[in-house]
């Protein structure tokens, strides 16, 4: 059975892991999942004034 031929075994193994870690992992990492946008609530309208306390 050709899958049992040992010659390309190590090369295929290392090559597939290399491509997996070099290409697939970074691509998947860059996906981000932001929170769903929420409607503004009336309670947040009472804002405190920003007081520039260091001046």
């Amino acid at each position: 059975m050709p899958q049992l031929i040992p010659t390309p075994w190590l090369a295929l193994l290392i090559f597939s892991w290399t491509i997996f870690t070099a290409i697939v992992l970074p691509k998947v990492l860059k996906h981000s999942f932001p929170d769903n946008p929420t409607l503004p609530s009336k309670q947040n309208l009472s804002k405190n004034k920003w007081d520039w306390s260091w001046h």
């Binding site: 059975m1 050709p2 899958q3 049992l4 031929i5 390309p8 075994w9 190590l10 295929l12 193994l13 090559f15 597939s16 892991w17 491509i19 997996f20 290409i23 697939v24 992992l25 970074p26 691509k27 998947v28 990492l29 860059k30 996906h31 981000s32 999942f33 932001p34």
Partner: protein, 227 residues
């Protein structure tokens, strides 16, 4: 005669270029890397949705300390799904029909999971060798059986994927050879084998997706036991 049917799984080399390298490197063109845009195009949005849904599905039953494995397992899911489905196109080579690639992923990840379990919580991991509620008399036998089943897991994981894809591709090759050969001799039978070929192709598409999912699901189950 039968041996020549397996020739499709020999790692092909055309003009000194191993085609397996192209088969592994090229499909990632279909997966653009997201940038910092808030709204992406349809392709990227649908991939993002699929990735998020599958990751939350697979990782919801796992202890939160195991969620750091999410990147590895979800990118492996994408890898295997893409390799499997790309191999269904004519004249392509399926890298995941090779034992070397599948055993490489299965063995390494299984060993990582088991070592993690043994190092962080050895009693809990070893406790899985004796299922709950078993009669006390059966304990020695059960521990032996469970140990054997633990060590068979990476082999089973790798060989399952290899065998499923190999068998599928072999069946497709056989049926298509039969259809072509019968086309001139017995055309009505050729139509039946043609219908069979069509159904087989549908089955293979399903198997490609399901087997990749099963691989990841089993790894997540082993992770659940050990994390």
């Amino acid at each position: 005669m039968t041996l020549s049917l397996f020739d499709q799984f020999l790692s092909p080399v055309v003009c000194w270029i191993p085609l397996v390298a192209i088969a592994i490197m090229l499909p990632w063109i279909l997966f653009p890397s997201p940038t910092t845009r808030w709204v992406n195009n349809r392709n990227l949005t649908s991939q993002n949705w699929f990735l998020g849904q599958s990751t939350s599905q697979i990782f919801s039953p796992i202890n939160p300390s195991g969620h750091k494995w999410a990147i590895l397992l979800s990118s492996l899911l994408i890898f295997l799904t893409t390799m499997n489905t790309a191999g269904l196109l004519p004249y392509t080579f399926t890298p995941t029909s090779q034992l070397s690639i599948n055993m490489g992923f299965a063995g390494a990840l299984w060993m990582g999971i088991v070592i993690l379990g043994m190092r962080t919580q050895p009693t809990h991991s070893l406790g899985h060798l004796l299922p709950e509620g078993a009669p006390a008399l059966l304990t020695p036998v059960l521990v032996i059986i469970e140990t054997i089943s633990l060590f068979i897991r990476p082999i089973a994981l790798g060989v399952r994927l290899t065998a499923n894809l190999t068998a599928g591709h072999l069946l497709i090759q056989l049926t298509s050879t039969a259809t072509l050969a019968l086309l001139t001799i017995m055309p009505i039978t050729a139509i039946f084998t043609g219908v069979l070929l069509f159904l087989l192709a549908l089955l293979e598409a399903a198997v490609a997706l399901i087997q990749a999912y099963v691989f990841i699901l089993l790894l997540s189950l082993y992770l659940q036991e050990n994390v």
